[in-house]
Amino acid sequence: MRRPRKSCPVCESGVRVLDYKDERTLSRFLTERGKIIPARLSGMCARHQRQLGRAIKRARHLALVPFIRGYGR
């Protein structure tokens, strides 16, 4: 039996474009170590998962979100 498809949490919230400056939202899709949660687990649609990856990488560059949480601190 196939599990029914999880619905995309970003589509449901009505956001069209993920903003790299909004680290509160981005951190919902990061593990406690700061890795990006795969769409397989979060149920994210492909478009938003692509946007998420780009947004998180930008946010990491700006030190809004860590590359690795808990490293060296």
């Binding site: 589509c11 400056k21 930008r58 560059h61 700006l62 030190a63 809004l64």
Partner: protein, 123 residues
């Protein structure tokens, strides 16, 4: 062709507000051209924030977000100035996709209303 951009600065937190404004004026003056005397469309000071990881040995940075419109050709000069300035810990220049003209950056279908939203018939 004029395109919308967004620029995030992270300044050293030791700078005074006036010194930051002075530097912002300097950078933004590089974008001014005779055709567009007022390139910066919006400017927001986020103020001091703790960095998620140290940059150049600093734990705190002063964030400023600016949106501007410019020719792509004039970005090189701006980037050079940003890299030379020691008080800029980090910067990011990206195309502002929210405002980008349709069909310019992404090959998106023009009609993307919530077509896939409501599909819950039958049990």
């Amino acid at each position: 062709m004029i395109r919308p951009y967004e620029l995030v600065y992270i300044f050293e937190s030791a700078l005074e507000e006036a010194q930051i404004n002075e530097r912002l004026d300097k950078f933004h003056s590089l974008l001014k051209t005779p055709e567009s005397p007022e390139p910066v469309t919006s400017l927001a000071h986020w103020g001091k924030r703790t960095l998620s990881y140290p940059i150049k040995g600093k734990e705190v940075g002063y964030y400023v977000v600016a949106q501007f419109e410019s020719q792509p050709e004039s970005l090189g000069e701006l980037e050079r100035a940003l890299k030379l300035d020691e008080s800029v810990l980090r910067y990011l220049i990206v195309l502002n996709e929210d405002l980008a003209p349709v069909g310019a950056a992404e090959g998106e279908g023009s009609s993307e209303a919530g077509t896939e939203e409501k599909k819950e018939e039958g049990e």
